[in-house]
Symmetry: C2
Subunit: 485 residues, 2 copies
């Protein structure tokens, strides 16, 4: 064995008989078997290095939690150690983490989750009947009536039924089949699973995955992990990031020279205009489309108004998928056994909230409106303030929980960035972090047209705090322009 690394499954109840009935001595024998090689090797040498590791994993980049976020962590530690800074706290505006920013959980969801977690509470008078009803239904569908059992790999049946009913309501009656619903560990898990199945081939038949730029870095990360080719098509910033079909054609044509392009498309979400699912549009275009196009759609407990990121709940709906492929999908999902059952339960409440006439409906509606109303207010606030700043342009925020303003970076600053071997917008965001404690993500992590610069910032902080954040960014930007004029 020239090289050896030991992976050890430890502790209570490893899953194969290979761990049975060994004495202390045989344990030592096992270990020494792993170690025999060591004397041949010098003290400091490591088996697993940047050179020897999986090159596809090494190629992965993930801006949302990249260098800027590591730096933010370091600064937080320095603040804790009492090191003086021009600010007293780091504001993590890099990620859409609603409850970390102070958003309160939706009471009803947490009541149902608590009842599922500790069923003794089903006898407690301090929980509403509609919450108990939901909890009983979920528990009855769980093995041993417990969240502690594995679920089917595809997810708990009655939760998949609730998701299908939710999609059918949302699409105005276009039917959804529970058999096409797969519960996942957040949306990320579903997206990477579908990409994993989609990717194949080498050389010119290597899979190209078309993604809209700016993209969410999950896609580029999974694409490079799978050794597929990222095919960019640029959304039209001047036209509120709309898709231009000619640009899509251009990207496809260029891609076909060196790979086999497949398409990823993001979808419309805006509080101001109606939501249109791709699936519904397909149905409106007729059976030639609705019964042919293979479509996978994703949703999660994280990014809705409930903002339950930590539960890692999600689902995907697939339509027109070949039955054999659905079999492959279940097989692949079964390797990780099942998504967290608590996350599945949370997903159930997201798609199956209190309705008019139910005991909890009024409080639920109040809480929901307050979250969405605040979000709309913050969106306007952010757009207005950014657009007052010379050298910042921000499109109207009509959905989601982020701003992606375009920033002008002077030539001198670009040179300074190059001197530090940094992308200009990374240089900008690092300075912003170091001078104000505000952590945002450089646009280069999402992709942007050559020569344009942006950053992504969440608008989730409470209104008063958001005002401070925006004012700080404004002051920083003006100083930055002067400094590098």
């Amino acid at each position: 064995m020239q090289r050896a690394a030991a992976l050890v499954r430890r502790g209570c109840g490893p899953r194969t008989p290979s761990s049975w009935g060994r004495s202390q001595s045989s344990a030592a024998a096992e270990a020494s078997a792993v170690l025999k090689v060591r004397p041949e090797r010098s003290r400091r040498e490591r088996i697993l290095t940047l050179e020897s590791m999986n090159p596809q994993v090494k190629a992965v980049e993930y801006a949302v939690r990249g260098p800027i976020v590591l730096k933010a962590g370091e600064i937080e530690l320095e603040l804790q150690r009492g090191i003086k800074k021009p600010f007293t706290e780091v504001i993590r505006a890099n990620i859409g983490d609603a409850q970390a920013m102070g958003q309160q959980p939706i009471t009803f969801l947490r009541q149902v989750m608590a009842l599922c977690t500790y069923p003794n509470l089903l006898d407690s008078p301090s929980f509403p009947e509609d919450a108990k009803k939901r909890a009983r239904r979920i528990l009855q569908a769980c093995g041993g009536n417990s969240l502690g059992s594995y679920s089917a790999s595809q997810g708990v049946n009655c939760i998949r039924e609730d998701v299908a009913a939710y999609i059918t309501r949302r699409d105005g009656g276009v039917p959804a089949d529970p058999d096409n619903i797969y519960l996942t560990t957040g949306a990320s898990d579903g997206i990477s699973t579908i990409l994993k199945i989609l990717v194949s081939g080498g050389g010119k038949s290597r899979t190209g995955v078309m993604i809209p730029i700016p993209q969410y870095p999950l896609y580029s990360a999974v694409i490079s992990e799978l050794d597929a080719i990222q095919v960019n098509y640029y959304l039209d910033e001047e036209n509120c990031w709309a898709l231009n079909v000619n640009e899509l054609r251009r990207a496809v044509q260029e891609a076909k020279d060196h790979c086999d392009p497949k398409v990823y498309q993001d979808n419309v979400y805006s509080p101001d205009c109606r939501f249109h699912s791709f699936k519904k549009v397909l149905y409106e275009m007729g059976p030639e489309y609705s019964s042919n196009v293979e479509l996978a759609s994703f949703h999660s407990t994280s990014k809705g108004y409930m903002g339950e990121c930590g539960y890692r709940g999600g689902y995907m709906e697939v339509i027109n998928l070949h039955p054999e492929i659905k079999g492959q999908l279940v097989k692949l999902l079964s390797v990780r056994l099942c998504p967290p059952v608590s996350g599945q339960a949370a997903m159930d409440i997201v798609v199956n909230p209190p309705v008019a006439g139910e005991e909890s409906f009024e409080q639920f509606s109040r809480e929901k409106e307050s979250v969405l109303g605040n979000l709309a207010k913050k969106a306007k606030l952010t757009e207005d303030l950014f657009n007052q700043v010379p050298g910042i342009h921000c499109n109207p925020l009509q959905g989601a929980m982020y701003a992606f303003p375009r920033i002008f970076i002077p030539a001198k600053a670009v040179e300074a960035a190059q001197a530090h071997q940094m992308a200009p917008d990374m240089f900008y965001c690092m300075k912003l972090l170091e001078e104000t404690g505000i952590c945002v993500v450089p646009g280069s992590g999402f992709g942007q047209r050559e020569g344009t610069y942006h950053f992504r910032m969440t608008i989730l902080p409470p209104v008063e705090k958001l005002k401070t954040v925006l004012q700080k960014v404004k002051d920083f930007h003006i100083n930055f322009l002067e400094k590098y004029a």
Copy 2:
């Protein structure tokens, strides 16, 4: 676009600005952009087929939830539809799912989880103070004091500290560093992450992963998904599945001709003899080993006496890993943002249960002893009964929650299996399922020496039910021998 598949991120708050500010018409435009290709293509044609999909994913096999389990699901549906069978229920003895088999959750763990889920309960007199103390500590370490926030990719700090303290206690003072602890989505997530980083190279430098046979199918599944080479070394069934160092040497030597072998080793767990972690053994062997060998160890909330499978909580400890590789590990983990925070909280209780003097200690100890006592009783019961059956041999069950008896399959049955294009033990297990409703996993899914046959069965059913199961297996086996004599 000769081929197109649409991946659509749906609904509330997609994470990139690409979804902002589009009107209904632009939504339609997007959809039609995806669909332009369709008219060229015939109705039934599918883009994603067994031929076009990722061949590595296609190659994945996962016996624990394989064809036998799908068949079990079909039979359950038939029973629900009132179709008559020689049995009234399917007993899923294929997987170690304690609570699905009726094991009650540990009260203290669920109390802490309920308190974390719905903090209003912190004011309730019906929860013990020590549970409230644990819950407050966990919540204080969560963003916004909520399980609904993302945690750091590596996991919640104070939980990693508790894991490190637990490991230090367990290894009699050998220190564990919280910085080396990574919280995961069950043990499976950690194991596949480490394998993902470990695998590299093509041709002769392709990574070979050495695994003990019988193995847990996760390893073979991940290895083929990563297009690495599985290198088997056989454990010694005649010697209670102990490892034979010469067999390990043989496997390494043979492997080196066609790949670059690395070692996976399972570990000792037995209620009868002390637990020895690899890490502790390394330390006992001196610094030449303890400060050189790169080791990754795994544990989860599922397979311990708490049996909380559904929460998908787990951790891994790595030692002597190159700092750059630890950076790569965090980067890779960050792509899935964080493990379920509820699972992390459950993991905290597994490593940090009530101690003597705490209010909940007595009840906790009672519950723990009852689980472990029952397991020992069932292990003995299973071994004794199997060994009474002609053509079945079962090693002593000294750990875990499974039996892996060796079964004799007559030549005529082997022929019958071949006629059905089934492995003989798959044929045996299918017959067992169809005739008795008992679902076990064929040994071929775990690997076994050529010409030997086994099945894996969990011993988790309640004692009375387990007795019935064992009696049914006995009767089936005797009939099977007669039928194919």
